[in-house]
Amino acid sequence: MNDDYLWDKTGQPDPEIQKLEEILGALRYQPKPLVIPRRRNYFALMAIAASVLLAVAAGTIWLRVRSRDEAPKQQAKVVVVEEAARPAPPVNKSAGNQSPVVANNRRRKGSASSAVDRQEALKAKEQLMLALRVTSQKLHLVHTKTE
């Protein structure tokens, strides 16, 4: 028996060796290109998250600036300037003192807060009635004109 087949594949192969060779041949090294697994790309998610945060921050700042600009002007007032030569309005007893009626939008604390709140509410009511009266008057005028 020649063992050269086992060394350099020359000579007569042993059938048993040949059989083993066939069986184990399936596990032979197969040359393949090296593939390095890619890291997951989080750029898109990060970009979206950053955009959303930026938009929310911008919206918050905008709302704050807007409310700061508008909030302090919660005031209702009526100013009547009458000239001496001008005839007095037909019925104007309550507004005759010609002083501005002001309803301030301020919160007060303390024991007298309810009384102050009520006073403020009454002023607000007065202004509300005035606003509704003007509105109603204008709508009535429209109604009269369109009839």
Partner: protein
């Protein structure tokens, strides 16, 4: 790589729009009119009405309305869902005290999305009267009245759902003292002449 970068940018833009769109729509549908541009007219006016009632003041006022008196009950119902009432009215002694641009500043806002001009009345005697409504879906979300004549500029802005019938019925039922607003203007003009 380049296409991936473009996709990322697009996704970021879409995300931005998704966040900002509701805010922009809300802003567009806001029925509050900015009347600050009319402030300078106060010094020229012989009579000024300036009412700014926000939701808090409205709720506060609603508490002092009586449920026993019918007219006050009606007003209470009317304002129950309102978010604000804003009135600017200027009356002048002479003609031409306000510019067309002053009126246009208001009218431009009323051309915005959602607003519909319901009525437009023009007469020599009463000037120009316009009524605008803001519709949110099928519900009225706000009302604006713009009245201009030679010696008067009035802007009324009601924010929130308005019952027009109830509002019109309030004329003469409110029981508030007269503040000289209803003084007959044509007669006054004749007197001056």
């Amino acid at each position: 790589m380049k296409s991936s970068f473009h996709i990322n940018i697009k996704m970021a833009l879409i995300a931005c729009l998704a966040v900002l769109a509701p805010a922009l729509v809300a802003k567009a549908q806001d029925s509050r009119i900015q009347m600050g541009s009319l402030d300078h007219l106060a010094v020229k006016a012989s009579q000024t009405v300036d009412v700014n009632i926000d939701e808090r003041l409205m709720r506060m006022a609603a508490r002092v309305f009586s449920d026993k008196k019918e007219d006050e009950r009606e007003v209470k119902q009317l304002i129950a869902n309102l978010k604000g009432i804003y009135v600017r009215s200027f009356e002048f002694e002479t003609d031409g005290q306000f510019a067309a641009a002053d009126v246009e500043a208001i009218r431009t806002q009323l051309r915005g999305p959602g607003w519909t001009r319901l009525v437009n009345v023009t007469s020599k005697k009463e000037g120009m009267l316009e009524v605008y409504l803001l519709f949110n879906a099928e519900q009225i979300g706000g009302l604006a009245v713009l009245h201009t004549d030679d010696r008067e500029l009035t802007v009324v802005n009601i924010v929130g759902p308005v019952d027009l019938d109830k509002l019109a019925k309030l004329e003469g039922q409110l029981g508030v003292p007269e503040l000289g607003i209803e003084s007959p203007k044509p007669k006054a003009k004749n007197d001056e002449k």
